[in-house]
């Protein structure tokens, strides 16, 4: 399973993951090896097999739409790296 540098860069961009030059090269090799191992799955004919996303018998667990106590603004913002008034502060997204 050949993984190219372009593949690594594309996936890292999708994942919003910064990588050093050394990490990019190492991941290219490692992902190739790991995905080659995954090819074992292609031996199985699964054309008639439904996928399993979760194993429990519960479906559509509903609850009444009621107002309940929740964390205060101060508690929610307590771990914020940057804040302003009652908001999380981030760098500008639009010019």
């Amino acid at each position: 399973m050949a993984i190219t540098r372009e593949d690594v860069d594309h996936i890292a961009f999708l994942a919003r993951l910064g990588l050093t030059e050394a990490e990019r090269e190492r991941l290219r090799t490692e992902l190739g090896q790991i995905l080659a191992y995954m090819q074992v799955l292609q031996r199985l004919d699964t054309s008639a097999i439904p996928p399993t996303a979760q194993v429990i018998p519960l479906q559509n667990v509903m609850r009444p739409d009621e107002v309940c106590p929740s964390l205060s603004v101060a508690e929610v913002l307590a771990n914020a790296p940057a804040r302003e008034e009652a908001y999380f502060r981030v760098a500008p997204v639009l010019e």
């Binding site: 996936i11 994942a15 910064g18 990490e23 790991i34 097999i49 399993t52 194993v55 771990n79 981030v90």
Partner: protein, 487 residues
């Protein structure tokens, strides 16, 4: 009397009889932690002050004759369970200074039951690993041989219990992270049925696989803990509504008539001869106790690791998208928000977490979704069907927990695939959502071996009874690691 050698149930009886106090018990563990931690490093955070405060409160309640199920009993918590006001790191730089504003559901339940929290234990970063070497802070050592790993990802919890730093602990298990370290450290570890224990406040790794469970020296202590933490929780939509049985009462009884299946695929290449011998002897012991034993086939076992290492990273890549440096956690300021994301995550995550985010993002990306992620989910169906068929004929299945005993630090770090294959015996159980327990069943060259027992959904009571009967007939769990020799 060395208080750190007591089981939870023994300590509880002494507390209720007022022969020891909760403060004495807690102080004994804190002293042992202080003595051993420089060598063992099982804890990320020791909450000594909080523990003494809780122990004093427990003594007041004990003196008033209260009998909450864990009143005055000290425990350790894997540092991936949120604790209000106590740093919860996931052994990651990105959460190094994160102080949760709330308790996980299991922590609420433990507190309500009167437990004393000794501290938060080390893990592979975000529970991704099989050796605790992926902790961003430091590796934990195996109490039986300090040059070896304790297993992972709940390696801190397993090492702490095995070393007598805590009588019991909670761990989490996504692909074997309770059972494998329990096996490698010579203690009992139970992964409950998916949904049996609320995941509210458990920092998410792979949401369709994660479960919280107890780790202790005996199956009986695990039964005590499971009874406290199990049960429905409206805050976790996957928490099962089924009533919680009295797991301690379910320990009673013998193994006569129990049908034990031995899946031949779990005794395949890669299984160390000493491990196989110990596990086969344990199965013979179950037969001697009255169980009937027969071979069974789980034909899709060999596909478990490949399916798991697509599904779990895919779920992880989505779950870990939340670490963006905006709301909490490590953050690198940059001129643009996008740059801040890249740099925060570059510096905040370690190599294994990056590897899994990349693998999972790849498996979910356009053009590869069907070939990898969907394919893995279909194979998951086949693996689950294997178990469904086996449980038509058998009450429990018996296998090795790990194909090897504890390996040396550094031995598998350079080879991610070799590390992934450490979980070959435990992964299929998570994919099928089943309960599984590892129980000590022998030693190879002084290193513990674990017997894994797997049951159908919600058979925790049965698994614990089998493990309990086995422990009544054996003394592997009474042996203690050679930590006190030679200082």
């Amino acid at each position: 009397m060395d208080l750190t050698q007591l089981t939870l149930l023994e300590a509880r009886a002494l507390l209720r009889a007022r022969e020891i106090s909760a403060v004495e018990l807690t102080d004994a563990y804190l002293a042992r932690i202080a003595a051993l931690e420089p060598r063992l490093r099982a804890f990320v955070t020791v909450t000594a002050d909080l523990a003494r405060l809780q122990a004093r409160a427990a003594d007041v309640r004990l003196a008033a004759g209260e009998e909450a199920p864990l009143l005055g009993l000290p425990l350790a918590l894997k540092d991936i369970l949120c604790t209000a006001g106590v740093r919860t790191t996931c052994s990651s730089r990105i959460l190094e200074n994160f102080v949760p504003p709330y308790d996980a559901a299991v922590v609420e339940r433990l507190r309500a039951a009167g437990a004393v929290v000794l501290g938060k234990t080390n893990l592979d970063e975000f529970a991704m690993g099989s050796s605790t070497e992926n902790s961003a802070f430091f590796p934990t050592r195996n109490p039986w041989d300090l040059a070896r790993v304790p297993g992972g990802s709940s390696g801190g919890s397993a090492a702490a219990v095995a070393a007598g730093e805590a009588p019991a602990a909670l761990g989490t298990d996504t692909g074997g992270s309770i059972r494998q370290p329990a096996a490698l450290c010579g203690i009992v570890g139970l992964k409950p049925t998916y949904g049996r224990v609320s995941r509210y406040g458990l920092v998410a790794f792979a949401s369709s696989l994660d479960q919280i469970g107890p780790m202790a020296r005996t199956a009986a202590d695990c039964a005590l803990l499971l009874g406290v933490i199990a049960g429905h929780d409206p805050r976790d939509a996957t928490a099962l509504p089924d009533p919680v049985p009295d797991y301690l009462a379910e320990l009673e009884g013998d193994l006569r008539g129990l049908r034990v299946g031995v899946p031949r695929e779990y005794f395949a290449a890669g299984l160390e001869p000493g491990v196989e011998a110990a596990v086969r002897a344990a199965i013979a012991q179950l037969a001697a106790l009255g169980a009937s034993v027969d071979e069974v086939s789980l034909p899709h076992t060999e596909y478990g690791v490949a399916a798991y290492y697509l599904i779990a990273p895919a779920e992880a890549s989505a779950n870990l998208a939340r670490y963006d440096g905006v709301k909490y956690g490590y953050s690198v300021a940059a001129p643009t928000l996008l740059d801040s994301y890249f740099r925060t995550r570059a510096e905040g995550f370690g190599p294994e977490v990056k590897r899994r985010i990349m693998l999972g993002t790849y498996a979910l990306s356009a053009g590869y979704y069907d070939a990898y992620y969907l394919k893995a989910q279909k194979v998951r169906t086949l693996i689950k069907s294997d178990f469904d068929r086996a449980f038509e004929r058998f009450d429990v299945l018996a296998t090795p927990t790990s194909p090897t005993v504890a390996f040396r630090l550094g031995e598998r770090v350079a080879d991610p695939l070799a590390m992934y294959l450490s979980d070959v015996c435990t992964i299929p159980v998570n994919l099928a959502g089943l309960p599984g327990v590892s129980v000590p069943c022998g030693f190879v060259d002084g290193l513990p071996v674990g017997l894994q027992l797997i049951g159908p959904p919600l058979s925790e009571g049965r698994l614990l009874r089998v493990a309990h009967c086995y422990q009544q007939a054996t003394d592997w769990h009474r042996r203690t690691p050679p930590l006190d020799e030679g200082g």
